[in-house]
Subunit: 139 residues, 2 copies
DNA sequence: TGAGTAAATCGTAGTCATTCCGAATTGGAA
DNA sequence: TTCCAATTCGGAATGACTACGATTTACTCA
């Protein structure tokens, strides 16, 4: 997903286009990795020093709900990234050093459904953590 | 894992056997599901009204480090359960209503390793969330 | 069995991410 | 341009978790 598609989605859901929202979306498009609310505030400190934390948290949550962003919980923090272009369901490798993510092709849920026929399955989380090639070389 | 094995592990790691630790371990053995530090405090409020939160948090963390407990992060909270008897690596289904867990046989990591040969893989998380048969019937 | 001691606990204050709220501002419809 | 619901702001409140000095206690060893 890119900035323009995100803005379209925003409008189609009845949300207003504001400078705060533009700045947050442009940042996430540029960074292309998981950022916390704190990361977003720091990154926008120069450009938008008056943006309140309420605004950051509220918009990140809204964007996540309307599927503009992907969200995860990592190290006791909620983190957000622009939704991948990839078509359909997928999971991520996440580099614990630089935050770079890599999309994964595998999802084990078909097998789990067969394994638990009497359970209602609502959601699942699959994430792989480690060091990306760049950070390995640099280290 | 049960209480007695846990106490053995405790001793073998050089930790002391205290009433607080006994109470926490007995509770987790009995409950057999993920509990937060707050859950533990509430459950022990009658029996041990003076147990401080420091004691609960510190011991849950210690038990997790020495592999007596399994740990996850769910809804912004750390949660702990007595380590399963099952031999070796596994993952869980977790009922979002009652907290009941079900061990899963599938782990997709062999495939991921093949998919990411140039990445260092340190850890992974796979969890399935939903409603267990009992809660589905009751609902 | 009775000190001695390091470990453990207690009580409380501090931290940090996140949420809440009332007042002020503003995007966009009419 | 006017108007108002949506949005933002600033700051206080919440809740999980951590830190820490003072006190207690489980275990060691004489
Ligand atoms: Mn993605
Ligand atoms: Mn288990
Ligand atoms: Zn999946
Ligand atoms: Zn696994």
């Amino acid at each position: 997903m890119n900035f323009d598609i995100a803005i379209e989605r925003l409008k189609s859901e009845g949300f207003k286009r504001t400078p705060s929202r533009e700045a947050i979306l442009r940042l996430l498009e540029r960074e292309d990795r998981y950022l916390s609310a704190g990361d977003v505030r720091k990154a926008l400190a120069d450009e938008h020093p008056k943006m309140s934390q309420d605004t950051v948290y509220r918009n990140l949550s809204s964007f996540s709900e309307m599927k503009i962003l992907e969200e995860t919980e990592l190290g006791g923090e909620r983190k957000f990234r622009m939704h991948c272009n990839r078509h359909g369901h997928h999971h991520h490798f996440i580099c614990m050093e630089c935050g770079r993510t890599e999309e994964l092709d595998v999802c084990p849920m078909e097998q789990v459904s067969r394994e638990l026929p009497s359970f209602v399955i609502d959601d699942h989380k699959f994430e792989v953590y480690g060091q990306c090639p760049d950070c390995r070389t640099a280290g």
